[in-house]
């Protein structure tokens, strides 16, 4: 009795298929006939691998996948920026071949093993995306301010109401600060940026900041916004607003220089890489599991320890060896000088290659894949 309508619906589906087929492959996805990359030194690879995870990496992933497509035109790499939490879960279940995550796997997770990995295979985890987090503000005509960690803590706790508060003016002689209300904007969603920001506050403003580091903003109340772009849009449209965002997204706003040791340091890729270099590896992890205990209180000259480090995770040995080859190729590109430069150009991140010790550890870990 439903034959006719089923037929109509089936026709609609078929029409959709035909439409799609007519449209053909997207113009930018056509693979060149000989498939030879531009002087790629690596062996020719082909296949598809899926990754998922941190949305903080998405602009960098875009750059890496774009760059890798030029080297290995027959490889398709997907990256779904679902978020670190779901990304880790999917990798654990074997749904994706690699994962991007703002928070490394716990040792318990590592011991429990991963879905795509061969039995007994270890985890390869390397920092690939190092980005300064900027305390960005919207004050007419002011592009830079000195803000001490305690001042930043008080701003985000709602204890500083006006921009011409003595705590701010004391650190900024010569700057004419307005009587504008301070509107501190935090992330409404769970995020790695919030965790890194609160971690930095907890380490640097112990007395003023009573909360533990957390992915969810720990203070009740205040202005909240969805995603980095929500914070950026809110700060941009509101005079007197201030928020913490990935440096790559804060270009139109004023930036706070933070106090490191005795000096004021502005966010820069070099300073971020330097802060990673000043940090030590987390203990109890395998050589291939390059995870840092970030040294938030470093006093090294020029280091900017308010940073986000995002990792890529993969198996040492895959159940499917072909997959292993693809992941190895991709990770080698991502951690190479070219890959890091591409990410810096599109996402404003810090090339990890600028720190020699770091770079060496990462390449030896990546070399163990496959």
């Amino acid at each position: 009795m439903i034959g006719r309508m089923t037929k109509v619906a089936a026709t609609a589906t078929a029409a959709g298929m035909i439409l799609a087929a007519l449209a053909g492959c997207a113009a930018n996805e056509e693979t060149p006939g000989d498939g030879k990359g531009s002087g790629s030194p690596a062996a020719k690879l082909s296949g598809t691998i899926d990754g998922a995870g941190a949305s903080s990496q998405s602009a960098a992933q875009e750059a890496w996948r774009g760059g890798f497509a030029k080297l290995q035109s027959d490889v398709v790499i997907n990256y779904d920026p679902t978020g670190s939490g779901t990304g880790r879960e999917q990798f654990t279940e074997g749904g994706v071949a690699f994962v991007g995550t703002d928070a490394p796997f716990s040792l318990d997770d590592v011991a429990a093993g991963f879905g795509s990995c061969a039995d007994g295979s270890g985890l390869v985890e390397v920092p690939v995306y190092i980005s300064p987090i900027v305390v960005a503000f919207n004050l007419d005509g002011i592009t830079e301010l000195n803000l001490a960690p305690k001042t930043i803590a008080d701003i985000f706790l709602g204890k500083i109401a006006k921009w011409n508060d003595p705590a701010i003016t004391a650190d900024n002689p010569g700057v004419n600060l307005p009587d504008t209300n301070v509107a501190a904007v935090h992330r409404a969603d769970k995020s790695g940026t919030t965790e890194n920001f609160t971690d930095w506050l907890a380490a640097n403003a112990k007395d003023a900041w009573p909360h533990e580091p957390a992915e969810e903003w720990p203070v009740s109340g205040g202005e909240a916004a969805e995603k980095t772009q929500g914070v950026v849009a809110t700060v941009t449209s509101t005079p007197g607003a201030v928020g913490y965002v990935d440096a790559g997204q804060a270009s139109g706003l004023g930036w706070a220089a933070i106090k490191v040791g005795g000096a004021w340091v502005s966010a820069s890729p070099e300073g971020a890489a330097k802060a990673v270099g000043e940090s030590s590896l987390q203990e109890g992890r395998a050589d291939t599991d390059v995870v840092y205990d970030l040294n938030r209180t470093t006093e090294a000259a020029g280091a900017y320890p308010l940073i986000l480090v995002s990792y890529l995770g993969a198996c040492e040995k895959y159940k499917d060896a072909e997959q292993g080859k693809l992941v190895a190729g991709y990770f080698q590109y991502v951690t190479s000088e070219d890959g890091q430069a591409a990410a810096a150009a599109n996402a404003g991140s810090a090339p990890l290659t600028s720190e020699e010790g770091l770079s060496a550890k990462v390449s030896s870990a990546v070399a163990s894949i496959g």
Binding site: T86, R88, A183, K190, E223, E226, T234, T238
Partner: protein, 283 residues
């Protein structure tokens, strides 16, 4: 029967994955909640509150537009044009409403909030302190109001159009002004349709996700009727959307449990709505 199976399926999947969350303790729950209901209660309030505001803003213009398209329309062409415009408004996807609310409406609402906080602070709704960004429950309610307006107007339009022409003409012939004719001949008979439209709109408003998530500045666990401050109650749907990506394991279960609560709330509302609708028409 197939429909029954689908519905049963929906309930079973939700209950199996989300049901146990009711008993979760701190640690397994998002936002450091100590019990499931500590989280769900205020969120349910937030959802209802946004929906109430949206309904309050959407109902008068929806009825007005529906009247314009039927009784007040100079000719049929105009009525049809208006219906098409409403359909166009209904066609705007919710993310676009979110972008518009965040980038265009919220900055405009900042001064409005400040004005309300200054001159009407004795009303609990405008207790303030006013939000400087305009990303308040008031703004979110307005955005959702625009989103549910077309469906409500369409329902009202349909029922207004059902008013017998003879009845309307009789009213006018008796010397009634056009408004009196509407008041005595059109509105009473359309009451159940208007209530149904309002309930449908309310249901949509309850479940609206992306637009609210993008526009509202939420504070979990907060229950407050203050509509102009930076601290606003969060809604279930928006909370799920913004917490889901970074959740795993039991926390996902807790979010599905929240979905179940939202389902329950909107079911309750639709049952109440049907009661009102039935009472409105004396049989």
């Amino acid at each position: 029967m197939a429909v029954l199976a689908v519905l049963a399926g929906v309930l079973i999947f939700l209950a199996v994955e989300g049901g146990p969350a009711v008993f979760y303790k701190q640690g397994a729950l998002p936002a450091h909640a100590t019990s499931f209901w500590q989280l769900a209660g205020p969120l349910a309030f937030g959802s209802l509150w946004v929906a109430v505001i949206a309904l309050a803003f959407a109902a008068p213009p929806a009825i007005g537009v529906a009247l314009a398209a039927t009784v007040y329309a100079p000719n049929q062409r105009f009525g049809r044009l208006l219906a098409a415009v409403l359909d166009l408004l209904a066609a705007v996807p919710s993310v676009v409403f979110g972008l518009w609310g965040l980038m265009i409406l919220a900055p405009l609402m900042g001064p409005v909030d400040a004005w309300l906080g200054r001159y009407l602070p004795w009303l609990p709704f405008f207790a303030g302190p006013p939000s400087p960004t305009g990303r308040t429950v008031l703004t979110a309610g307005l955005v959702v109001a625009v989103m549910i307006l077309p469906i409500m107007a369409a329902m009202c339009r349909e029922t207004f159009a059902l008013t017998p022409t003879t009845l309307m003409e009789a009213g006018l012939a008796l010397g009634a002004t056009r408004w009196e004719m509407v008041r005595w001949a059109v509105l009473p008979g359309a009451r159940s349709g208007m209530v149904a439209g309002a309930m449908l709109g309310f249901g949509r408003a309850l479940g609206e996700t992306m637009a609210v998530a993008m526009v509202l500045s939420p504070t979990p666990f907060l229950v407050s009727v203050n509509v102009i401050s930076s601290d606003n109650p969060a809604t279930i749907a928006a909370f799920i959307a913004s917490t889901f990506p970074e959740s795993r394991g039991k926390q996902v279960g807790a979010l599905i449990g929240l979905g179940l609560v939202l389902f329950g709330v909107s079911l309750l509302i639709s049952v109440i709505g049907r009661r009102i609708g039935r009472k409105a028409v004396p049989a």
